[in-house]
């Protein structure tokens, strides 16, 4: 049996699905989009207190709040995009079972909806960067490129995870645990320089860590991210997207029966 083709306006469809998510999430909150700022601000403050005042810290020459936020923003986006992406197909059972809409669109739209929060948090980060006296530099032009790769990487993960989650509903719990481990394995509150030599490679191939490094290179040190890092990020994004799409295509014919 061949698949029925959907004809329509993909850009308009994405725009509407992203707006829909955004409206649903914020309609019933009195503080609206401020909620997107409160979580990173609270975390940033706690960590600045903990590592600035209580425990010793490295990276003393850099403004610690910006340093932490360079780690928190990519990590928060990873968590948000992966969790909403992974459950998106099951959460949108009403669409899968009753509306003919290209199914790939659903996890991708879930990831892109998180970009709205990302932009808000990013605004905060840039504001703080400048507020701590770090000037914008030419390497800021790298930011859209590294984030585009990162979003691609997450679209791939969300496609794969959302398809698997239809058949194995424990997937989300596995991802939650994985996420907790990742929090410690991504250099959010510690710097690259304290990682022992033999683990450096391991950190470099982790795309989340790679993004944190790239962010710190650009925003804190005012230098271009190393080419090897960019290469790793490009490879990770391509592999994740390719694999995610392959898994999704393989599993989607029977979504209807399993949801």
């Amino acid at each position: 049996m061949k698949e029925r083709k959907w004809t329509g306006d993909y850009v308009f469809l994405f725009e509407n699905l992203i707006l829909k998510d955004f409206r649903i999430r914020y309609r019933n909150m009195s503080l609206g989009i401020l909620w997107s700022l409160i979580n990173p601000l609270v975390m940033m403050t706690v960590m600045t207190f903990l590592f600035g005042r209580v425990l010793g810290r490295d990276a003393r020459d850099q403004p610690y709040p910006v340093f932490v936020l360079c780690g928190l923003v990519p990590f928060n986006f990873f968590t948000g995009a992966l969790m909403t992406g992974a459950t998106s197909i099951v959460d949108n059972a009403g669409l899968i079972k009753r509306v003919l809409v290209p199914r790939e669109v659903i996890p991708v739209a879930a990831v892109l909806s998180n970009c709205v929060h990302l932009l808000i948090q990013f605004g905060l980060l840039l504001l703080l960067t400048v507020g701590f006296g770090l000037r914008p530099n030419i390497y800021w032009l790298w930011l859209p490129a590294i984030w585009a790769l990162y979003v691609m990487f997450l679209c791939g993960l969300a496609l794969g995870a959302s398809a698997i989650n239809v058949y194995v509903r424990d997937t989300r719990y596995v991802l939650e645990s994985f996420n907790m481990v990742l929090f410690w394995l991504v250099p959010i509150f510690y710097s690259f320089s304290i990682i022992p030599e033999k683990y450096v490679k391991l950190y470099q191939i982790n795309p989340v860590a790679a993004l944190v490094f790239a962010m710190r290179h650009i925003l804190l040190e005012g230098i271009a991210p190393p080419m090897s890092l960019m290469l790793n990020l490009t490879i990770a994004a391509s592999v994740a997207l390719g694999l995610g799409l392959a898994i999704f295509h393989r599993l989607k014919p029977h979504f209807y029966e399993y949801i």
Partner: protein, 241 residues
């Protein structure tokens, strides 16, 4: 005239697997495949509709009416047989399908229109006629959760017909509208028929079916019990009950 929708010896089965969605179930599937009992929702169903014809589906609950519509929409795949559709398909399969109850009517209208394949420009051009046809203008900025079932159907049907489908599939929901809306739907469906569009309608209301459809397919336990002209099949269906 061209064939708009054709089912050729279509069989669709489902596996009984309520609540079996965990990792251990998938591992069991691997260990001993196809042990679970299968349920035949449709068995060897064939029919063919020319462009401009309208078909009513009748039968008891679980007879396979919705399964036909789901397959025709392209939401699930047949196990055997083939399904051919010519042109754009739009489906109205459940009350409020694709609507979110926290969004307003106007917001849902746009999301739904985008999902049905309308472009930004088409929505801009058609939004007024959609709202007019639905008759829910004064509630447009209210969240959908305050809409009655009838109002929800009105909006959904208005968007669906505005998508200008070649084949329109409707499951039951029209029965929730009032008499005035029936008359509007009837008018729209007549207009569609003269434009060579095809409609498939599943309903328990034989009255609605005879009003809107020329042909009727009577399903019983997933098999075609009878098909033919609306009067003929509806008469036989009523006689059997």
């Amino acid at each position: 005239m061209a064939t708009a929708l054709r089912f050729d010896h279509v069989t669709k089965t489902f596996v009984h697997r309520a609540g079996q969605m965990l990792l251990r179930d998938r591992l069991l599937d691997l260990a001993r495949p196809s042990k679970r009992p299968r349920f035949e929702a449709l068995k060897d169903v064939s029919f063919s509709l020319e462009a401009g014809e309208s078909l009513g589906l009748i039968g008891a609950n679980g007879a396979g009416k919705s399964t036909i519509l789901n397959l025709a929409t392209g939401l699930s795949l047949a196990d055997q047989g083939s399904i051919d559709v010519n042109g754009r398909v739009t489906a109205l399969l459940e009350l409020g399908a694709g609507f979110h109850y926290d969004l307003t009517g106007a917001e849902n209208l746009r999301v739904n229109a985008a999902m049905m394949g309308m472009t930004r420009q088409q929505v801009a051009e058609r939004v007024e006629s959609i709202v007019d046809f639905s008759g829910v203008r004064e509630f447009l900025d209210e969240p959908m959760r305050v809409y009655s079932a009838g109002m929800t159907v009105r909006l959904a049907f208005s968007v669906a017909v505005a998508a200008d489908p070649d084949v329109l599939l409707v499951d039951e929901v029209l029965g929730l509208g009032d008499q005035q809306f029936y008359a509007k739907c009837l008018g729209k469906i007549r207009e569609f028929q003269t434009q060579g569009k095809t409609i498939v309608l599943a309903s328990h209301s034989t009255e609605l079916i005879t009003m809107l459809c020329q042909r009727v397919l009577w399903l019983e336990k997933g098999r075609v019990r009878m098909q033919g002209s609306a009067e003929e099949v509806v008469a036989a269906y009523k006689a059997s009950a």
